[in-house]
């Protein structure tokens, strides 16, 4: 069982105040008066490749509350992206259930907007404005005039007003990701799903994008589920972090991150080391390369 595995590994870091064993973490979330926005319960996801049946995650459970910046953190092969796709409705869990506002997730929908890592997520045949307006119009969220107004509002928020009428291929990688974020936010979804959105950016741009994302969050306190394999990014972006082990993905720990703006403090550094130790505790052979 998932809880057994996590308890065993969690004994090594019981001294840290910010790290809670999963079972306790879940109990705490359950007793919270606020009902969770997103409720992931005992989710096992399996998919078939040409030759194998692969178990991507095994009985993963967590709750995301309104306004959380919830990060799924783990090495490659821990099924974090698969889990995000399941929340997006692109995959069905073989076991367990995922509920958004109490409703079972069965298929993709505009109440959960995905922001992908790939730059080609923008539709190349539309301008920046067209891309942001597109979901608002096709889903019938707003009438045309209101859609354009809201789109411009969010384009302004990501500082791309000057480029509203440019086509995506003329933008830099960072700008493309900003458009994708604006497009997601303009839909004002219940939860924004971000799949390593900054992983393909250069280090300097990535840092700036992280700051901008946090700035946007300060503005509107949207709920975001963020997937990353970077420990510093998880500590910086997340208010809560779910640590997953690889092959298959199981919950190792649920962590409250350091407060906003303290991502370079000693506390954050200590938390980073702890997470690092936890991640590499059971795969020593890979540690020297990391």
């Amino acid at each position: 069982m998932a809880s057994g595995a996590t308890l065993a590994s969690s004994s090594a870091f019981s001294g840290a105040a910010t790290v809670r064993p999963t079972s306790a973490g879940r109990a705490a979330a359950g007793s919270d008066p606020a009902t969770p926005l997103l409720d992931v319960r005992g989710v096992t996801i399996q998919y078939k490749t040409q030759a194998h049946l692969v178990t991507a995650t095994y009985r993963v459970g967590f709750n995301v509350l309104q306004g959380d910046r919830f990060v799924l953190l783990g090495p490659s092969g821990c099924g974090k992206s698969t889990l995000l796709k399941a929340v997006g409705g692109y995959l069905q869990p073989t076991e367990g259930e995922i509920r958004l506002k109490g409703e079972l997730i069965r298929k993709p929908g505009p109440d959960r907007i995905m922001v992908f890592q790939e730059f080609d997520q923008l539709l190349p045949w539309m301008t920046v404005l067209g891309n942001v307006v597109f979901p608002l119009k096709t889903t019938g969220t707003l009438d045309v005039k209101a859609a354009y107004e809201r789109a411009m509002h969010y384009i302004e928020k990501v500082n791309l007003t000057k480029f509203a009428h440019s086509y995506p291929h003329t933008l830099s990688g960072g700008m493309k990701q900003r458009v994708a974020i604006a497009r997601g936010m303009a839909m004002e979804p219940d939860i924004l799903l971000m799949d390593e959105p900054f992983a393909a950016l250069d280090a300097l741009t990535r840092t700036r994008m992280q700051d901008e994302l946090l700035g946007l969050w300060d503005d509107t306190q949207f709920t975001v589920l963020f997937v990353t394999h970077s420990i510093p990014e998880a500590i910086k972006i997340g208010s809560r972090i779910l640590l997953l082990s690889p092959h298959p993905g199981q919950v190792k720990a649920e962590i409250n991150s350091v407060p906003r703006g303290q991502e370079s403090s000693n506390e954050a550094a200590a938390l980073g080391r702890e997470i690092h130790d936890m991640l590499f505790a059971d795969q020593i052979e890979e540690a020297p390369n990391a």
Partner: protein
């Protein structure tokens, strides 16, 4: 201690202003600018070819084999002025457009069927494998039996020549649409025909356009060939028949004028219509340079 000293040890260096170094940006010379114009280079090639033709014609001095370029142009101007060529061209183009439109429409239906079901994909793949290599003109004898002498048979072979090329390219285009773009579309609740219209067709547009261009070229060739075979149907034939007729009357400059007209129409469609569509779509979208 040593580490601290090393860390503080920064060597600053001065950067110089723009007045210190030479060229950063400078306009190209006029000759370079002229040479960079694609259409100018192409016009130059055409002029050179025409000149070579004229010289060869004069040197050969046998208008029954190769009339000069000037004679051909004279015949062309004459027959354009007296309305023969425009009429013939128009009747060709009329049939062509009907065949091309029908073929494209059928290709579209077939491709949508192909992407929505597995058996559809297999069907389209098998049919294209069978019929794409088959020259449309080879079906003409059959078409004549089925549809008689007339536009019906022509349209039948045209549809055959257009449909497979367009369907093959469209299917390839649909398949190459990235998973990310597909997921984006599904994220906005797009499915079925709306998904095809709003995501797949624009995303696959470069391939679709390439298919249309190939289909157009196939159709044009097939039509002229078909007209050469049986030509006149109702009242007057098209350009192919004009060439055939002129040859029978040994009006060789007219034969060349007919060929030239076919080339000119082909060039116009490629360089005006398709180029216009390309600059407005795939080039503007950065999907083709």
């Amino acid at each position: 201690m040593l580490e601290a000293v090393q860390r503080a040890n920064i060597v600053y260096s001065e950067t110089v202003g723009p007045e210190q170094f030479g060229i950063i940006q400078k306009p190209l010379t006029l000759a370079e600018k002229i040479y960079n114009q694609t259409w100018l280079r192409k016009v130059f090639i055409i002029v050179a070819l025409a000149a070579a033709w004229q010289l060869y014609g004069v040197w050969l001095d046998n208008p029954l084999l190769v009339p000069t370029f000037a004679d051909t142009v004279r015949a062309l101007v004459e027959d354009v002025a007296n309305g023969t060529i425009p009429n013939r061209a128009l009747s060709s183009i009329e049939v062509l457009l009907v065949g091309f439109a029908t073929g494209t429409l059928l290709a579209g239906l077939l491709t949508v069927f192909a992407i929505s079901t597995r058996i559809g994909t297999d069907f389209l793949e098998t049919m294209t494998a069978m019929f794409n290599p088959l020259p449309a003109i080879a079906l003409l004898p059959l078409a004549l039996i089925w549809f008689g002498l007339g536009a019906g048979s022509l349209i039948f072979v045209l549809v055959h020549s257009v449909m497979w090329a367009v369907a093959l390219n469209t299917l390839a285009g649909f398949r190459s649409v990235s998973t990310t773009v597909r997921m984006v579309g599904r994220n906005y609740n797009l499915s079925g025909l709306r998904f095809v219209a709003k995501i797949l067709i624009p995303a696959a547009f470069p391939s679709i356009l390439a298919g249309l261009k190939i289909g157009w070229a196939f159709a044009w060739r097939t039509l002229i060939a078909a007209e050469l075979v049986f030509g006149v149907s109702s009242g007057q034939g098209g350009l192919g028949w004009y060439i055939f007729e002129s040859k029978n009357q040994l009006n060789i400059p007219e034969v060349f004028a007919g060929l030239l007209t076919i080339i000119l129409i082909g060039l116009a469609v490629e360089n005006v219509i398709f180029r216009f569509i390309e600059t407005r779509t795939v080039q503007r979208w950065g999907m083709q340079s």
